[in-house]
């Protein structure tokens, strides 16, 4: 039984690590600031959830598990807030997102928002 839990936890930990690296690669490959926010979203959500849950399985039922759960909760509540604050600050600073609207998708996606950036 202990072995099964160990194996599950290893799988969770390793997939978490893989997702972290994928997110980081995305941060390097995506074209502009706003798209990079999505890549950072991968490393901040799924990667964190998988690694922390994997560690919780390792620690069994103890105070340590509770603390890991608290870390997970803090991360899940604070990262979207930080991401949103970043996006909002960038919008207010008139950083224009690269949009697909100029190219072949143009007719399909009329600019629906009043954002100044949709003029680009």
């Amino acid at each position: 039984m202990a072995l099964i839990i160990d194996v599950i936890s290893w799988i969770l930990l390793l997939t978490g690590g893989v997702f972290g690296v994928i997110g980081a690669i995305g941060m390097l490959r995506f074209p502009d600031f706003y798209t990079r926010l999505h890549a950072s979203g991968i490393t901040d959500t799924l990667c964190a959830v998988l690694i922390v849950v994997g560690l919780m399985l390792q620690s069994g039922l103890s105070l340590l598990t509770l603390k890991l759960l608290l870390i997970l909760l803090f991360l899940l509540f604070t990262t979207p807030t930080a991401t949103h604050a970043l996006a909002r600050a960038a919008v207010l600073d008139n950083i224009e997102p690269v949009l697909a609207g100029n190219g072949e998708q143009g007719s399909e996606n009329p600019a629906q928002t009043g954002e100044p950036s949709s003029k680009s």
């Binding site: 074209p31 979203g41 959500t45 959830v49 807030t81 996006a87 919008v91 690269v98 697909a100």
Partner: protein
Amino acid sequence: MRYVISLSLLLVVLWLAISGVYKPLLFVLGGASVILVVWLSVRMDVVGVEHNPVLFSWRLVVYWGWLMGQLIKSNLHVSRLVFQTGKVKPRLLSVPVPHEAAVSKVTYGNSVTLTPGTVTLKLTDHVLEAHALDEESARELEAGHMARKICWLERQGEKEN
């Protein structure tokens, strides 16, 4: 006053859970820090502002489970896009926010940001402006599953009280 007591209780439980060392001196220090935090919260006028029955319904657990599922789905989707950057077609979109309570609106905005592929740019009383990584993510948000889930969460919370 009700909120002050519930906040104090929450902080005491949190402190006991994190501390793990139970000696008289530490109890005194813990009690002092709880009192300090409660006093600061009262002084900042934030006590009770974010206490909402919506938050403490058992249906929240169901919502979190559902959100986890969405999280995994959208993560896999964005991970695929990382290796096919040609398919990245970012666009802006705005969706209506049908919720009444401020907590529900914030939950909506945060959930949208939490799922990769969509990021909340601006959240006003009735409209949420978001940046989506590609068509699929945008359509997922526009379909409004998430908004309806939170409406359900909100409604159930009211019924129980």
